[in-house]
Amino acid sequence: MTSNDIISGGVIIKSTALLTVVFLSLPLLLVAPSYAADAEQHQAHMQHAGDHEGMAGNERKRNMREMVQWTSFPRLKMMMGGEGGEHKQVTLMPKNIAPSSVDAYSNDIHAANMHRQLPYDLVLATLDKPATGGFHWLSAREEQVDKVLVASMVYYMSERGSKDPTAMFMLQKNSLEIIPQPFPREHSRYRANEDWQFLVRFNRWPLAQQKVMLETQNGSKVEFNSDAKGIVTVHFPSDFKASARQGDMVARNGDRRQSSDFVLAAELVNAKKTYITGFNGSYGPDAFSQRSLVLGLGFTFFGMLGAAPLLRNRKADKKSAMKTAPAISTQTNKKEA
């Protein structure tokens, strides 16, 4: 082993030591942002746990904004309560629809209770704890003489045993349907300035040139049309106001998971009956609204500079290489002999 190996190894060690100090100092940062864990703050923390749970949003803020009717389309409003984790209680409130039942569909299409009706008291439905985790479809249907209203949404449960929900999504549950293609998976979500596709179909037939309306809690109303295959590409508008970003959706631990509701709705008249279906969910602000690419590249470059000395061909390198290359060659020759 040459002295230069020791020198270069020392550079690596110094750099590694610096990074180690950085990482091991992380526990010290507990002091700055940590707060006594009272139940209320922890509840807010739990509501923001995970991207999909974050899509349910800050309920108190939402409830205030809910006092203003932002859409007339049918939808399901989700509310979370309880202690969190496995004791979390999820209730659904149908809005702009008076269903006779609220149904849940599991991603395990072969399960005996794949399709079940939730306990419903004509005001609130209580989501039970499904047998498997992953994505579940929730749906409410109101049938009138000349009108059928459907409100649907997808709920994600962070448990093991989830199946691929694609087959369940494509099962016919109602006449007029809007089906995400695909639904954002874990660690992903609908966000402003992103395009997401949905399938619009009637009795399993894709609807071409079907008008689909997007209405958001932030006040946007946008129309889209499906293509020949019934696929509509929805561009989520960048309608989060700056004041909302700075607002009280910031938990005391600094979590700033912004969220707003949306409903994607279609209307179709068939055989003198009007079908109105709404697929609702929540979306967040633009991915880069609270991120800086410039600073990110800057810190990356800083790290690169830290390793740059390792790339230098030192004079000692060349001398030692001249000494060791024949030595290795000699060893090789001996072995071959």
Partner: protein
């Protein structure tokens, strides 16, 4: 046995065979979701013993650390803060995740590091580029490497942070501390042309700090990898996590005692993790906790049958003089390709 398989498949050496497997697994882990389906990451192991990133929107699986942090944060931590007993019921998902991890780990052992991990593949690709560019090789000698090795074990202590975050004692950003600083998150998302992860968070001070550290580490690793073999692997928490289960797998490196070892030591020169023990130890001591089962020591051992990779006692690959002679014609033990790079010092030495 492997030596019988890969020539039939057109691979002249174990190294070339491993390189091909690495490239395939890079595509599977980084882009597999586009082939296997958007929800594949929830369908496979969900506990891969390699750095498959859940932030990669096209990934087909996610590493065991993601799941472990999540369960410590949202399940066990919550149970503790609600003054509930951490019952078996609370621990079942964690036990299932570890079980899923071990189910796949059982068959490949540390080869997940040397053959499957996308971050390992990226570093080795960068090292190859560094060889082509004639960059020097920086190594750890046996004194220095001992100072770096404990770091990977210290990294496991970071698992306490998601637990504290779940209890509400630590900030929520510390619910997934490994993910916040892991360079694989940046490498794999950049490979899918997604720049979101390389942009640092500006919404909170702690998030900004963690992302900045991650970006600096990433920048350091990709440059260091040009002149150092596997720089991040030395401190990777998965290296230590996998090492905990290393002795429980029937796949292992076996070295027989040989008197010639003390005068040779080519195997330790060839080892990308600078495991000097491979040159002087034998038996179970030769299968070091840092070993990634890349097989280079066996490739460059010039003595028949001294170093072997075995599965349930069946030899998959073993050293041989004939193989060694062929191997060194193509690449030196340090990874320098023969005849394909302008290495001025070597030309001067030849003169």
């Amino acid at each position: 046995m492997l030596r019988n398989i890969f020539p039939n498949l057109g691979f002249p050496t174990l190294g070339r065979f491993r390189f091909t497997v690495q490239i395939i697994m890079l595509f599977v882990t980084v882009y597999g979701g586009s082939v296997l389906g958007s929800y594949a990451t929830n369908q496979l192991t969900e506990a891969l013993p390699s750095l498959a990133c859940a932030y990669d929107k096209l990934s087909s699986d996610k590493c065991i650390l993601v799941v472990t942090q999540h369960q410590l944060h949202h399940r066990i931590g919550q149970a503790l803060v609600n003054a509930k007993l951490v019952t078996v019921k609370v621990l079942i998902p964690t036990l299932i995740s570890v079980g899923a991890f071990f189910t796949v780990f059982f068959f490949l052992n540390k080869a997940f590091c040397g053959w499957v991990c996308p971050m390992g593949t990226v570093q080795e690709l960068l090292f190859r580029i560094g060889r082509r560019l004639g960059r020097p090789l920086n190594r750890f000698d046996k004194n220095n490497v001992g100072k770096v090795r404990p770091i990977k074990w210290l990294m496991l202590l970071v698992l306490g942070l998601p637990l504290l975050a779940g209890m509400g004692v630590a900030a929520n950003e510390l619910g997934a501390p490994y993910c916040q600083v892991c360079p694989s998150r940046l490498a794999t998302t950049l490979l899918t042309m997604d720049a979101e992860q390389i942009a640092v968070q500006t919404s909170s001070g702690l998030g900004f700090f963690l992302n900045a550290a991650s970006n600096a580490l990433f920048g350091f690793v990709i440059i260091a990898a040009l002149a150092t073999r596997l720089p991040f692997c030395r401190i990777c928490p998965l290296l230590s996590w996998n090492a905990m289960f290393q002795k429980l797998s029937p796949m292992r490196l076996v070295k027989k005692q040989n008197d010639k070892c003390e005068k040779c030591s080519i195997c330790q020169v060839a080892c990308p993790m600078d495991i000097h023990e491979i040159g002087r130890e034998h038996g179970s001591k030769a299968f070091h906790e840092d070993c990634t089962l890349c097989g280079r020591c066996a490739e460059y051992c010039p003595d028949d049958g001294v170093i072997q990779i075995k599965f349930f006692g069946i030899k998959l690959f073993g050293s041989s003089l004939a193989y060694y002679k062929n191997r060194v014609k193509k690449e030196s033990p340090e990874g320098l390709p023969k005849g394909k790079v302008i290495w001025l010092t070597q030309i001067k030495a030849d003169k």
